[in-house]
C-alpha cells in the first residue's frame, strides 16, 4: 500500500508524456537495419565455416540410402500387424532351424496395450504437473507483477525464481528429479511443474501488468481495502486469461512429457527410447502416430474451451 501515491501519479503521466514527446521521434535509420543484417550474416558464415573446419558438418557415408531405408521401415507401422500379422511367424537361426513361433497379432495387441498405458501415464504426468504449476505460479506471479507493488526485495526474489524456473528445460528438471525421487512418474510430474510454474508465473504477472487500470482505480476510488481492490478489481479481470494460459501450457506439457521418459521420468518416452535403441522403426512409427493423435485431439478440445472463456 505504501507505493500507492507513486503508482497513482505514474498512471497519470503517460498521456501527458505522450502529448509532449510524439512529434520529437525521428524516423528509424536504414543503416541500423543493414548493420544488424550484416552482423547476422557474419554469424551464420562463421558458424558454417568453423563447423566445417572441425569436420562437424558431415552427412555420414550414405545419407540418401539411409533415408530411404528409414522411410521404408517407418512406412510400415507396427500396429498394422493387428490385422496383417502372421499368426504363426517362425523365427529361425542361421541354419534355418525354427527357434520360436510367434503370433504377431497377439504380440502387437500386448504392445499396443502397453502404449495405451504409457499414453495414459503421460497424460496424467502432464495434468498433475500443470495443476501443480498453476498453484505454484499464483503467489509467484502476483509478487512479480510490477503493478501490485510487492516490497522490492520480495519482487526481485519472485521474479528471479520465475526466471530460473523458466530457463531450465523440463528434460533437465527431469534428470534432476530422477536423481532425487527416483525413476517414475513422480519425477516427471515435478519436472513439468517446475518448468511450467516459471512460464505461468511470468504470464500471470504480465497479464496483471497489462490490465486496464481504469476499473481497478475505480474500485480503489470507493475507499476499498487493498484486499478488496485485488479480489474485486484485479482478480475477476485476470482470471479468464490465467485459465486460458493454464490450458495452453497444459496442451504444451502433453507434448513435452512424451519425451520425459527418455530420462526415466515415466510415460511414452521410455517406449520411444526403447524402439529407437532396438531399431524397431515400425514401433517408432506406431508411437509417433499415437502421439500425434493425442496432441491433435487435446489441442482441439483445449482450443474450443479457451475460445469460450473470455
Amino acid at each position: 500500500m505504501s507505493g500507492d501515491f507513486a503508482r497513482d501519479v505514474v498512471s497519470v503521466t503517460p498521456s501527458v508524456a505522450a502529448h509532449a514527446r510524439t512529434p520529437m521521434r525521428s524516423p528509424p535509420r536504414v543503416s541500423a537495419l543493414w548493420l544488424l543484417l550484416t552482423a547476422c550474416a557474419l554469424l551464420v558464415l562463421t558458424s558454417v565455416w568453423t563447423l566445417a573446419a572441425e569436420d562437424e558438418l558431415s552427412f555420414g557415408r550414405k545419407p540418401w540410402q539411409n533415408l530411404q531405408k528409414t522411410v521404408a521401415e517407418m512406412s510400415e507401422p507396427s500396429f498394422l500387424r493387428l490385422w496383417f500379422g502372421e499368426t504363426r511367424h517362425e523365427i529361425r537361426d542361421q541354419d534355418g532351424k525354427v527357434l520360436r513361433v510367434d503370433d504377431q497379432r497377439a504380440t502387437e495387441r500386448r504392445y499396443l496395450a502397453g502404449v495405451g498405458r504409457a499414453l495414459w501415464t503421460t497424460l496424467r504426468i502432464a495434468t498433475l504437473g500443470t495443476a501443480l504449476a498453476a498453484l505454484m505460479a499464483l503467489p509467484l506471479g502476483l509478487l512479480a507483477a510490477r503493478t501490485l507493488n510487492a516490497p522490492r526485495p520480495v519482487f526481485w526474489v519472485a521474479k528471479g525464481v520465475l526466471d530460473v524456473m523458466r530457463s531450465i528445460h523440463t528434460l533437465v528438471f527431469g534428470l534432476f528429479f530422477v536423481g532425487i525421487v527416483g525413476l517414475g512418474a513422480t519425477a516427471g510430474i515435478l519436472a513439468v511443474a517446475a518448468h511450467s510454474a516459471g512460464t505461468l508465473g511470468k504470464l500471470l504477472a504480465e497479464a496483471i501488468e497489462t490490465l486496464d487500470t481504469q476499473p481497478v482505480d475505480a474500485v480503489r476510488a470507493t475507499g476499498a481495502t487493498a484486499g478488496q481492490v485485488f479480489f474485486l478489481g484485479v482478480w475477476p479481470a485476470v482470471l479468464p486469461q490465467y485459465v486460458s494460459q493454464v490450458l495452453y501450457v497444459w496442451e504444451f506439457n502433453i507434448r513435452d512429457s512424451t519425451i520425459l521418459g527418455l530420462v526415466g521420468a515415466g510415460g511414452l518416452g521410455l517406449l520411444l527410447s526403447e524402439a529407437m535403441a532396438l531399431f524397431q522403426w515400425g514401433r517408432l512409427a506406431t508411437l509417433l502416430i499415437a502421439i500425434v493423435i493425442m496432441v491433435i485431439a487435446f489441442d482441439a478440445v483445449s482450443r474450443a474451451v479457451r475460445r469460450r472463456l473470455v
Binding site: M1, D212, P215, G223, T225, L232
Partner: protein
C-alpha cells in the same frame, strides 16, 4: 482558526495548489472553494488539468505545494510514505467522495449488481467481500440504487453486455450505493449519443439534488454546462482563468474565454 472554520462549511477548499508530474506542472497555484450542495462544472482544453484536479481531490495525485482540504481532511498530510493510519484516512476520504469516471471503468465480467455492491466496499471490509459475499442489507441497498437509475432489470446481467449509456447509469448507481456527500464526475457523457447523454445528465442532477450532495463535474460539451451546474470553473494550462455563475448565455461566454 480560520482554516478550521472554512473546513466546516466548504466541502473542497484549495489554496495555492501545485501538482507536478516530473518537470511538467499539471496544476499551478489553484485556489478555489466549493461549498456543500454546490453543483460545479470544470471546463478547459485537453491537458488543462481538469482530471488532475479531480484526482487530487480523491488523493490519487500528490499535492506538491499548497493546501487542500476535502470534507475537513487535510489531503496534503496524506503524502508518502504512507503508514497504516494515513492509508486508513485515504480510504475513509475516498469512501466519502464518490466518482463517476469517463469511459469503461466497471468490471465487465462481473454482474451489474456486483459492480454496484463495490460502492459499499469501505463499509463492509470483511474478507467475505473478497468472494463477493455481501451482507443482506448491502444487497438490498444496492438493488434500491439500481432501481433508482432504472436498471433493476439488469441486476443479474454481465456488465459488458450493456450499452455505454446503461453502463454509465450503473456507474451512477455505484456512486449512489456509496452514499458519499461529494460526487466527482469526469466527462460522464463522453462517448454517449445525445439521447443517452440527456438521460445520464438528468439522472445525475436529480440524484445529487435528492441527496443534497455536492457535484463536481468535468464537462467537455459546453452546451451541457447549464443543465449540469450552477457555477463554472475554467482551467487553462493548470491555472484557474475564470470562475463564474451559470446564466443563459454561458456557453457563448465560455467559448469566448476558451478561444
Amino acid at each position: 482558526m480560520s482554516s478550521a472554520a472554512i473546513a466546516s462549511t466548504a466541502v473542497i477548499d484549495a489554496q495555492g495548489l501545485h501538482v507536478r508530474a516530473g518537470e511538467q506542472a499539471l496544476l499551478r497555484d489553484v485556489s478555489l472553494t466549493i461549498a456543500s450542495g454546490e453543483r460545479v462544472a470544470i471546463v478547459g482544453h485537453n491537458g488543462a488539468g481538469k482530471s488532475t484536479l479531480l484526482r487530487t481531490v480523491s488523493a490519487f495525485s500528490r499535492v506538491d505545494e499548497g493546501q487542500l482540504h476535502v470534507l475537513g481532511t487535510d489531503v496534503t498530510l496524506l503524502r508518502e510514505p504512507r503508514n497504516a493510519q494515513s492509508t486508513r484516512q485515504v480510504r475513509h476520504l475516498r469512501s466519502r467522495v464518490a466518482q463517476v469516471l469517463q469511459g469503461l471503468h466497471l468490471i465487465g465480467r462481473l454482474s451489474v449488481l456486483d459492480n454496484v455492491l463495490i460502492g459499499g466496499a469501505a463499509r463492509t471490509m470483511s474478507w467475505l467481500t473478497w468472494l463477493r459475499r455481501w451482507p443482506a442489507h448491502e444487497r438490498e441497498q444496492a438493488r434500491a440504487a439500481l432501481a433508482r437509475v432504472g436498471m433493476a432489470w439488469a441486476a443479474a446481467r454481465r456488465t459488458d453486455s450493456l450499452s455505454g449509456g446503461e453502463r454509465q447509469k450503473v456507474a451512477i448507481a455505484r456512486a449512489l450505493h456509496q452514499a458519499a456527500p461529494v460526487l466527482l464526475a469526469d466527462e460522464p457523457t463522453a462517448s454517449l449519443d445525445a439521447e443517452a447523454a440527456d438521460e445520464v445528465i438528468a439522472l445525475l442532477t436529480s440524484v445529487v439534488a435528492e441527496r443534497r450532495a455536492t457535484l463536481v463535474c468535468v464537462v467537455h460539451d459546453l452546451d451541457m454546462v447549464p443543465r449540469l451546474a450552477e457555477r463554472v470553473i475554467v482551467l487553462r494550462r493548470g491555472q484557474v482563468v475564470a470562475d463564474v455563475r451559470v446564466h443563459g448565455e454561458i456557453a457563448a461566454e465560455l467559448r469566448g474565454i476558451l478561444k
